[in-house]
Symmetry: C2
Subunit: 573 residues, 2 copies
């Protein structure tokens, strides 16, 4: 019959590696069936009950108490095992203390003044304190610890931002800085893809998949899982994005987070659109209507993210937008887009895509009822009209066959001094007008000339839907429209985005106040770090031939909570 | 000064091509500035006012009246122009009536008994009647007309479905049947991509883009824009999908619709998943959490749809699912999936992906609060546990470093007779356990052996997150896990989908009652059609060298609404 015996130690602090090793050593002792060594939280006590490692006295243990349970073949074996706890702990400590180790972060920092990073993996309740110390020493922090409050996260990130430093975390599992993995990190090829991730295993999965697909990583910056929440406001993600934007070696940027607060997401995407590099955004499982908005690509799965990143890194697409010259040609009165469509679904797609560029677009087939045109015959602000809607086709040919209605409307829109850009579809094929460009091109040319005479510039963007085997002669159609001064695209999406970018450039600018830039040296200098907490992280930096000093950290006041809070208050005042 | 004169003709019917030609002929007369020839709907009258073509008496015209307005340099010129209306109309009729044309659909059908299709483009109020006639003659219908009621659409589609016939439309702009374009259609290369579309210009844009990218089309079936609404229930889309599934030449299927009713969309996607061909679904602008579920791909833009289709057609991926043998090995008690994750975001991605396979998955990090585990230590039905959550890591190493907790839970799950599949992540890299497979593989092997002894089959699916440069020796890790009988994948998504398919196969089946199949001959026979309505559609079939007979259709009872409804009632009774 198995006999369980337990011991509770109050106020004792040991690193979790030590606890795991003690548990394993106890389990291996003669006559011992199983052992448990944990802090006495409710969850841990319940776990002990579940695996048959509980004794009645354990229920008295608190979250700050160390609980040691041994299940043995008899009472003697159990007692003997517990008697060896101190010996086993002492043996462990001896192993670890062969080298000289500084007892405080301050002295470690003096030993390695070029260290720009501090790795913090102490228990959650001590983590914010150690982070503050590191920031005061001018170091950026990789904060692995979890169980850190949102308030503490907010304070340390604000402090960091003011100093031009970063806090990756709390609960930041993974980062790769200048080729060196921090926390849990896969060894990946160096390359041209930079990552900002509010998800440790997400970062690992994407970077490992990138490596497997032949791509490589410049830097991978973790932010902690809550960084993109409203309370934190993506401070670290914004810093990371900005660093990678400025880092010349990074050609493609990946941003990973669980679905963030819509406002925070919105602002981060706005910044990504200014990056002048391809940015792949993966708000995990959060679907977006557009999969690409100019330089920003939206992916939903890790595999897709990695595939896109490798593909874009191997042939970085041109990030050209519409020409500045064209935008400057508009008169100050000109603001609005008017889209006159013959194809209903092309009009609908235009409305969807324009959401990426304009706050509101009115239509006779609006996405939301509040943007329904009061009168389909009269445009309001930005407007898309589907001229093939039932209301226009009673006893009248479809506008793909008869251009009359569209020509009249085009002339009307072009003479409006507030109109900047006109967007048209020209649909070829059987059944359609035999030569639509012959009727539309002269009207476009005339409208543009009249606008010019009135001191305005009229942008005209057209999509031609057709093939080189259509009866209309695709090439001649395109040439006629181009000769009239229209942009001609073969894809509705591309045409709408050109029009969208032109009109978006005329919107009043709304700037997000920038953060103080973090010095690129945090990425570019050979990694040197001070490690406070788990020794395994120290070991893995050594294995990667990075400079590291492990701090022989002990909780302040020997882990006594009351004394600790008094000390903390004294320091702050 | 311009003088406008108008004429109103009641009860007269002319096809809209005739009206357009009359308007152009009037505008070209000497002394005439502009002319309008339209049916007297409110929208049309407003349009006339807007272009300065209105006279006070026009306001009396009703929607069934033909309105003719002429703006001329003087009253004489205007009057003279109006005097020529009958001549101009007669001239037009003469041109058109050179060949013998049957006056009724019935006699046309006798002239061309092999015609399987009737093209209907008469004004909306007559369209359902003509469609019923066609169905009674055993013909499928391409119904271009708009302004047809939902009730009429429903009735004709139900009638068609019962007869194994199709009605594409109403408001169906485009179709390509056996290489021949109906309505508005681009001339595209023949190929291996089939399309079902509830959007005319969507179909045109996608088929034109496919052609531009080097791909080709087998058949493109239009459904009309309302087909995927709840009232219609996707009758035509389901028929189309089923036809293309059975059509050997179609290797990739594209389904296009504006965002449909969620229920209808759900059912259509379920049918698509049974197609055993790649199906690309584009519910225009409707975003989905997954971009691919087994053989079904979700695209949001037309360009992306075309790109995917061409890509998949050039290398059709294997549509293999998990092996039937493995599914048959499960005991009848076995039903549930248990995922034990060390990576939080991998667990989260698993929950997202499993939505494609299972109705509900419980978790300690659930997608919806109703699926939160009552106790993280006890699984319920399908369960995913993130063992790296804060609740498990107080004073305990992360499960990426210490396998103890996971091993205990794995043993517990494996002994549950309701558990069918266990899903695990194994995360390699710096900081992680130096040899996780050496601890996990023996436990997996033992659990599988014990299940076998108890007459069960335990499926174990693992994802290994790592690279060949990781310190753990990726190859050895994979081999140990495979030797223990686990599926091993390098992508979390792929691993989760394997697990999902295994467990989904154990769910009770829910079948959608199938529709009567439409004979593949509607696609495979050389296209032969009867055309009722717009002559331009007749002309374009002739241009494409298809067999066609144009019916010299006139509205019943000369367009007299009351008489018409009496006639209709007499026919039905």
């Amino acid at each position: 019959m198995t006999v369980s015996k337990a011991e509770i130690r109050s106020g004792a602090y040991y690193d979790s590696v030590v606890l795991m090793q003690l548990q394993r050593a106890l389990s291996a002792l003669p006559g011992v069936d199983d052992a448990g060594v944990v802090m006495g939280t409710e969850a841990n006590k319940e776990l002990l009950v579940q695996v048959g490692l509980s004794t009645p006295e354990l229920q008295a243990a608190g979250a700050e108490d160390l609980v040691i349970v041994v299940a043995a073949q008899d009472a003697d074996a159990a007692r003997e095992a517990l008697d060896q706890v101190d010996d086993l702990l002492a043996r462990r400590r001896q192993d670890a203390e062969q080298d000289y180790r500084p007892k405080s972060l301050e002295s470690a920092a003096q030993m390695m003044p070029n260290a720009r990073w501090v790795l913090v993996s102490v228990p959650g309740r001590y983590a914010a304190g150690v982070t503050r110390q590191a920031l005061n020493l001018g170091k950026s922090v990789f904060l692995y610890s979890d169980n850190v409050s949102v308030d503490d996260e907010n304070t340390v990130k604000q402090t960091a931002a003011e100093k031009g430093l970063m806090v990756m975390g709390p609960d930041c599992g993974t980062a790769i800085i200048n080729g060196v993995g921090l926390g849990f990190a896969n060894h990946t090829r160096r390359g041209s893809i930079g990552i900002v991730a509010a998800s440790g295993t997400g970062l690992q999965q994407v970077s490992a998949r990138i490596h497997q697909m032949g791509g490589g990583i410049t830097h991978a910056i973790g932010t902690g899982g809550r960084d993109l929440s409203t309370s934190i406001g993506a401070v670290t993600a914004r810093q990371g994005l900005d660093l990678l934007r400025r880092d010349a070696a990074t050609q493609v940027i990946v941003v990973i987070s669980k679905p963030p607060s819509p406002k925070v997401a919105d602002e981060l995407v706005k910044e990504a659109r200014q990056a002048r590099k391809p940015v792949i955004v993966n708000f995990i499982g959060h679907s977006t209507a557009s999969r690409r908005v100019d330089n920003v690509y939206f992916a939903t799965s890790f595999d897709e993210t990695a595939e896109l990143a490798v593909q874009l890194a191997s042939s970085v697409p041109s990030m050209d937008s519409v020409s500045d010259a064209e935008i400057e040609a508009f008169a100050p009165t000109q603001r609005y887009l008017r889209g006159l469509f013959s194809g209903g679904t092309l009009a609908y797609e235009a409305l969807l895509i324009l959401q990426d560029y304009l706050p509101a677009v009115y239509a006779n087939i609006p996405l939301k009822d509040e943007f329904r045109l009061e009168d389909s015959l009269v445009s309001q602000e930005h407007t898309i009209v589907d001229l093939g809607e039932d209301e226009f086709t009673v006893g009248r040919l479809h506008p793909m066959m008869d251009n009359d209605l569209r020509i009249r409307r085009l002339e009307q829109e072009a003479s409006d001094p507030e109109v900047a850009v006109i967007l048209l579809d020209v649909v070829l094929g059987y059944g359609a007008h035999p030569d639509p460009a012959s009727e539309l091109a002269p009207v476009i040319a005339k409208a543009r000339a009249q606008a010019e005479k009135a001191g305005r510039y009229l942008g005209v963007v057209t999509v031609v839907v057709g093939t080189d085997e259509d009866p209309q002669d695709l090439k001649a159609q395109v040439e006629q429209l181009q000769a009239a001064g229209a942009h001609v695209e073969m894809s509705n999406e591309v045409a709408v985005r050109v029009a969208g970018r032109l009109v978006q450039a005329l919107l009043p600018k709304s700037e997000i106040p920038p953060l103080k830039p973090v010095d690129l040296d945090v990425l570019h200098q050979p990694l040197a770090a001070l490690n406070v907490g788990l020794e395994t992280f120290n070991d893995s930096l050594i294995a990667q031939e990075a400079q590291v000093i492990h701090v022989d950290w002990r909780p302040p006041a020997g882990g006594d909570e009351k004394l600790m809070s008094i000390l903390e208050r004294m320091k702050r005042s």
